[in-house]
């Protein structure tokens, strides 16, 4: 049996290019504009949004990464949940998807089949269909999907439109990047591994559904750039400051313990370096807790901004581990204040 994570250097969303490197390239390329492109590149949103001209909006994204878990079927499920999450983060219902696969020519084809079956089951659970895709031979496995969904103009959620006074709601626990690093080092407990796997396999569908009729002012999903990276994008683009109550952030206890022992993916340090100077950390916060807030998440939670009343309705519908983790205020010197 091949342990998929042993075949790659970095796994899941921790394999993202450092955000600073990416921005330095993207900022040097002219933006393409079109009147019907209502969400494009400029706000680093989760997906593009295309005005269909009849009140409907098409939302499209693509996401793929190296194996984040050892079982091929699980990896397919996680990759699909992760890709579909970009649609849920825009308030869109997934409709169609296409496979994107890099696969070693020497590896057993049954591994590819299991990945595709896992993804298919997850896409079906989302109420969407996979129809085709593209595969190339490569030295290591990478898999994901291009995904397309639909919403309406008044229900499109952006990451850039949070309002002063909004509270922030997070819908999954953080720390799967750290637990995955510990799994690679054979230092994670079976219990931690199972919890991380279940979390990554969980679609953000229910979070999207519970928020459907609520006034969501802004939304994103937390993936490779970590909670603080994605929150920074939200705060910066809205010209606000996010105050995070770190004790309220849902995290896996195991991730805190593993972070204390230095089992933190390199991507977390890239995220931290990129955010240098934009985050104020209150004195006395445990180092491992701050580490988890920079941890790259694969198939992570939705992060929603709304007023307090909507948040309490959402949390009573969704249940644990959803929690209010902070609040937006007027712009301050830093974009994020941790206390």
């Amino acid at each position: 049996m091949v342990r998929l994570t042993k075949t790659v250097k970095s796994s899941g969303c921790a394999a993202k290019l450092p955000v600073g490197d990416l921005e330095s390239v993207l900022s040097s390329i002219p933006l393409m504009e079109d009147d019907r492109l209502i969400v494009g590149f400029e706000t680093s949103d989760d997906a593009l949004a295309w005005d269909m001209g009849d009140g409907r909006v098409m939302v499209q994204s693509v996401d793929f990464f190296p194996p984040v878990t050892d079982e091929a079927y699980d990896f397919g499920q996680i990759a699909a949940a992760n890709a579909l999450s970009d649609l849920y983060a825009m308030g869109a219902q997934p409709a169609v998807a296409m496979n994107v696969m890099c696969f070693p020519s020497c590896m057993e084809l049954s591994v590819m089949k299991e990945i595709l079956l896992g993804a298919q089951d997850k896409v079906r659970e989302a109420g969407a269909v996979i129809a085709g895709g593209h595969t190339i031979a490569d030295s290591t496995i990478k898999y994901g999907l291009s995904v397309t969904g639909f919403t309406t103009k008044d229900r499109l959620w952006r990451n850039s439109t949070a309002r002063e006074g909004d509270v922030l709601v997070l819908t999954k626990r953080l720390g799967v990047g750290i637990i995955n690093t510990a799994i690679k080092a054979d230092m994670a407990s079976d219990e931690a591994a199972v919890k991380a796997l279940e979390s990554m396999k969980t679609l953000n569908k229910r979070a999207y559904e519970c928020a459907q009729d609520l006034a969501i002012h802004a939304a994103t999903d937390v993936t490779g750039f970590s909670l603080l990276g994605h929150l920074d994008e939200m705060a910066r683009s809205a010209g606000l400051c996010a105050h995070v109550d770190t004790a309220a952030v849902p995290v896996f206890d195991e991730a805190l313990e593993l972070a204390r022992f230095g089992l933190i993916p390199e991507g977390a340090y890239n995220n931290r370096a990129y955010m240098e100077g934009r985050v104020t950390v209150a004195e006395g916060l445990p180092r491992e807790l701050v580490d988890v807030l920079y941890d790259p998440q694969s198939s992570g939670p939705l992060l929603l901004a709304m007023d307090e009343e909507a948040a309490s309705t959402f949390i009573s519908r969704f249940g644990a581990p959803a929690a209010i983790i902070g609040r937006f205020s007027k712009a301050e010197d830093s974009h994020i204040v941790l206390r």
Binding site: T181, G262, E266
Partner: protein, 66 residues
């Protein structure tokens, strides 16, 4: 002394863990990237060592004492 240059996380932590198995009083670990520097420091501190860090060019020398 342990030189973890060229290795990426979590490997340097595992190498350090193995090297500290017999709990030496002092030990020196060389790292060549920020993630390894931070992770080896966290590991050593978590098991009771004090870490002093010295930058040397593109590498760091971590001195572990207990």
């Amino acid at each position: 002394m342990l030189d973890t240059s060229g290795y990426s996380c979590p490997e340097p932590v595992l190498m350090t863990k193995k090297a500290l198995k017999d709990r030496p009083k002092d030990f020196v670990v060389i790292v060549d990237n920020v993630a390894s520097r931070e992770n080896v420091t966290r590991y050593a501190e978590a098991i009771g060592y004090t870490v002093t860090t010295k930058a040397e060019g593109a590498k760091w020398t971590l001195t572990l004492t207990r």
